[in-house]
């Protein structure tokens, strides 16, 4: 098993009825790194994400997750390979409480199987531990006071945080975060990135972030950045190299 790269994408091609959204892109995400994918609106970042996670079908392309073949798999199988994602427009289960929202993702819960109904006692034990874990995650993200609110009552920034809590609970090996800090209050953004950095150092989780705000992504301890434009990878490099790159300034500042 090849553990050097958490994600290897090659020749990914996706078009919507002839409109090419992602045009034969290749990239690799080193395991244990924080890697960013930036680009202006509508350049195909989210389409790439959705294709990798099996949410939308794509025409061509190979996806390897920690060296394991994952091309064209449905999203539940992809998740079982250790890849969890957040959504750009946070899709929480709106009529459930925050607690319920983050109790569902952990894998291999006995209680979520039909045979779990026969063993109420062991399900209860697992549930107690999970609730404890959930509170710890909520404390890390400083939203433990919201645990009993319905997800529909949260503000945009808070639901982003719950979404992050949710992927953290799902025991991931690779985290795909789709604009995780859009709408989150300024000081908290820094904290979130600190926590993500922490998370990466302690658990070795690989983090792959989409962000269209250049400053956010370049100001926080990110290792490697891919820049996308018009469905293609424009360039890649460390944040310093990206800042110096001429083409990036061109697509972002328009000259």
């Amino acid at each position: 098993m090849n553990d050097e790269y958490a994600l290897e994408i090659s020749n990914l091609f996706k078009s919507y009825d002839g409109l090419v959204a992602v045009n034969n892109i290749d990239f690799k995400v080193k395991s244990g790194s924080i890697t960013g994918l930036i680009g202006p609106n509508g350049c195909g970042k989210s389409t790439t994400f959705n294709a990798i996670t099996g949410l939308i079908p794509y025409q061509r392309g190979n996806v390897l997750i920690y060296g394991q073949e994952a091309s064209h798999l449905p999203s539940d199988k992809i998740n079982l390979l250790g890849l969890s994602r957040t959504f750009q427009n946070t899709r929480l289960w709106r009529n459930l409480t925050v607690m319920e929202n983050i109790l569902l993702p952990p894998k291999n819960q006995l209680g979520t199987r039909i045979r779990g109904l026969v063993f109420p006692k062991s399900v209860k034990e697992v549930e107690d531990i999970l609730i404890e874990k959930a509170y710890n995650v909520l404390e890390i993200l400083e939203i433990d006071h919201m645990a009993f609110n319905k997800a529909s009552e949260l503000s945009g920034g808070q639901s982003k945080l719950v979404d992050i809590a949710r992927v953290m609970m799902s025991n991931p090996r690779v985290l795909l975060l789709d604009e995780p800090v859009a709408g989150v209050a300024g000081p908290l953004v820094e904290k979130i990135f600190q926590q993500l950095d922490n998370l990466r150092k302690i658990t070795g989780v690989t983090i792959f972030i989409i962000e269209h705000n250049l400053e956010f992504i370049l100001g926080t301890g990110i290792d490697f950045v891919y820049v996308m434009n018009l469905g293609k990878i424009l360039t890649s490099g460390t944040p310093e190299e990206i800042l110096k790159h001429k083409g990036v300034a061109e697509i972002y500042l328009g000259y």
Partner: protein, 376 residues
């Protein structure tokens, strides 16, 4: 029946307008088995539930890929098909009394326990036993369903209702969950059907009329509040009571024309007369009522329609004042027990990842390829 709908639509979000299909299976299977093979009706009842659940599970395969509204249409048509079948096929039909032909109809099947009861307790009417027995079975069922709904399994079903794509991207095979939910709901509906057939001791195809059954069940569902079994029970009670109230009033009216009920009926009749003669008559001409009634005095309401419109009024009132049902879905609020500090390293356990070679049902090609590689 409302409980079954709660599993389908309340928890899982599958819009099912064909509850009656499963109810009918539950009613037909035990009665037919009893008439044709002389099988004990209680055994038949459980068989009916199992068969219905199995059909519910099978129904998942062709129909679950459809969008919600198309799934609803499929279920409507299922109900309609069954109703037509009952009209056409004599062996499914009910009343063979008077026809002289001995077909295994449903009407006169052997009612479970009735002989036993009449031998041992001749003074107490059999109806009392029926009510008690039905109620206790219902209570057991209710407790089981509450347990299901509040378990983590029920939670998965509710997330499917909220946003199934997200549930899927957290590693849940939503198709499997939906299919099982359909099966459980179908089983519950069949259970209700068998109890119903038992109470009526036979039924006709009108009994499966979508207006008076599916509609009424949905009314109970809407009033009770989705995702809450207690709400279902209360909703059903309100609907059944409204229904029975009107039935009693109309029956009393026919039996005794000088009673208190006459006042109520007269009141509704006078409103109806005023509407038909004085308002519609002046706008559209007297033909509106003359075609149906000979004289002004004979203009009167058909009480069966009054019954349905009563139910409608009750629904309107309840949806206006209880938007989420009488008892809305309860949010889950677990207390923190251990108060322990769990290090981040233990929260995220990456070892739980399942290697793709061990996943069943996928990547068969790949696995074969691997085996080929090994051979080489």
């Amino acid at each position: 029946m409302a409980l079954s709908l709660n599993i389908h639509t309340g928890y899982t979000g599958l819009v099912n307008f064909g509850v009656i299909f499963f109810v009918a299976i539950g009613a037909i299977v035990p009665t037919l088995l009893n008439r044709v093979y002389g099988l004990n009706s209680i055994v038949g009842m459980f068989l009916g539930v199992l068969i219905s659940a199995f059909i519910g599970y099978l129904l998942a395969f062709p129909s679950l890929k459809l969008r919600t509204d198309y799934f609803a249409i499929v279920t409507i048509s299922l109900g309609a098909v069954l109703q037509k079948m009952m009209v056409v096929e004599p062996w499914l039909r009910t009343s063979n009394q008077g026809s002289g032909i001995s077909v295994p109809g449903i009407a006169d099947y052997q009612i479970p326990f009735s002989d036993w009861w009449k031998q041992n307790f001749p003074t107490i009417p059999f109806f009392g036993f029926q009510a008690l027995f039905g109620l206790s079975l219902f209570l057991i069922l209710f407790i089981l369903l509450e347990y299901l709904g509040n378990s983590p399994y029920g939670r998965v079903l509710r997330t499917i209702r909220e946003d199934e794509d997200v549930t899927k991207s957290y590693g849940y095979n939503i198709f499997q969950y939906k299919a099982v939910a359909l099966a459980i709901g179908a089983g519950v509906a069949a259970f209700a059907g068998s109890l119903w057939a038992w109470e009526l001791s036979g039924f006709s195809s009108q009994f499966l009329d979508p207006v008076t059954t599916t509609f009424v069940v949905w009314a109970a569902f809407v009033m009770g509040g989705r995702g809450n079994n207690k709400g279902m029970v209360i909703g059903s009670f309100i609907i059944v009571l409204t229904n029975n109230l009107v039935t009693t009033v109309s029956a009393q009216f026919q039996a005794n024309s000088t009673s208190f009920y006459t006042v109520i009926i007269d009141f509704f009749n006078s409103i109806y007369r005023f509407w038909l003669i004085n308002i519609e008559g002046t706008v559209f001409g007297n033909g509106v009522w003359l075609n149906f009634f000979n004289a002004k005095n004979s203009v009167s309401l058909d009480l069966n329609y009054l019954q349905l419109s009563f139910v409608g009024i009750v629904i309107l009132v309840f949806t206006r004042y209880f938007e989420k049902g009488v008892i809305p879905e309860l949010p889950y609020r677990p207390k923190r027990k251990l108060n322990a500090k769990i290090p981040l390293k233990d929260i995220i356990d990456t070892s739980l990842t399942i290697p793709s070679s061990e996943m069943n049902g996928i990547n068969n090609q790949q696995r074969e390829q691997k085996e080929l590689d090994k051979d080489e």
